[in-house]
Symmetry: C2
Subunit: 193 residues, 2 copies
């Protein structure tokens, strides 16, 4: 039972409220109630409801991705590492949506309302991709690229169907793994020396 209210406590409570009530019902008053404080206190730490939701979204997204980034750090040749990275990204999101569709929907709604957060997250992801591409070029596995960042973004775009939550509904369909492998192989063939 801490003396003073911290931004982190508020974020934690806001996350709980969002989980329980969903993105359309969760209010700042609910968050304050959950913490046993007045809603005015929340506004001491966050300038607006939108800012609070954005902060929750950012935290949620970065924590969710930390696991993926780690899993795909394996010490492999670039092509395999790229394939693993893409497959891990896909698998992790697919598991999320299958395990708890409601929570995934809440999370997706939050992400959708913050295009800035999405842009930043995509920038992080493509930076990871660019890293792999550079390693592959250095090792002679990939052909040299005019613009590695552009190519990294192209790889990200080409695999959209397997990481954009907008397509989550298709991730349980039969043949989705074959479709993923097909795109993956096409992309890898396009990168190969």
């Amino acid at each position: 039972m801490p003396e003073t209210l911290t931004a982190d406590q508020i974020l934690e409570a806001a996350q709980d409220v969002l989980r329980r009530f969903g993105p359309s019902k969760a209010t700042v008053v609910d968050v304050a109630r959950a913490l046993g404080v007045s809603h005015g206190s929340v506004y001491r730490h966050f300038p607006s409801k939108a800012a609070l939701r954005e902060a929750v979204t950012r935290r949620w997204l970065s924590r969710a991705h930390a696991a993926v980034a780690l899993a795909a750090k394996a010490d492999l040749p670039a092509p395999e590492r790229l394939r693993t990275w893409l497959a891990t990204l896909f698998d992790s999101k697919r598991h999320k949506v299958l395990d708890d569709p409601e929570l995934f929907a809440t999370f997706t709604a939050l992400v959708r309302e913050n295009s800035k957060v999405v842009a930043d997250h995509i920038a992080e992801l493509t930076a990871e991709l660019a890293e792999i591409l550079r390693a592959g070029v250095a090792a002679g596995d990939f052909k040299p690229f005019d613009d590695v960042d552009q190519t990294a973004r192209a790889v990200f775009d080409a695999t959209n169907r397997f990481h954009d939550p907008a397509y989550a509904g298709e991730w349980k369909q039969d043949g989705i793994d074959a479709a993923f492998d097909a795109v993956c192989s096409l992309v890898l063939a396009g990168l190969a020396r």
Copy 2:
């Protein structure tokens, strides 16, 4: 002023009503009113509002695509033909959304509510792609594929960002053409012998 009401007249009127009122406000009663008949007469030709909307969607989609399919029939080597096909598809959709965003939104909403129509349309599109791929394999421009249809679908999936209306908001951003070229080149490199 024809004697008897035809399904085609109803489709035409329904299309007008949808254009004018938008997908959420357009009613069967509106369509009947526009034709000067009772709404019961509409139900003689279409079993439900959903069926009527689906029929409109199908017609709208197939007419919109006829122009694209034609434009991309040019007598070129397969790789150029593929690039032209993809570029024409992208350009045509981008023009639609830029020229009349409201109509595009109406159209997109209709498409979204009919996943069956979408699936059929995608099947047609990938069939066109598969045709190009086969020609390319025969001419020795593309490497032979295990499964041409699967590869065609992979090409379609990889270029999602440039034909799925869900991304229409990004089509006016700077650098979108460069992003398109990057994905296109990656895909073509992946197909090349």
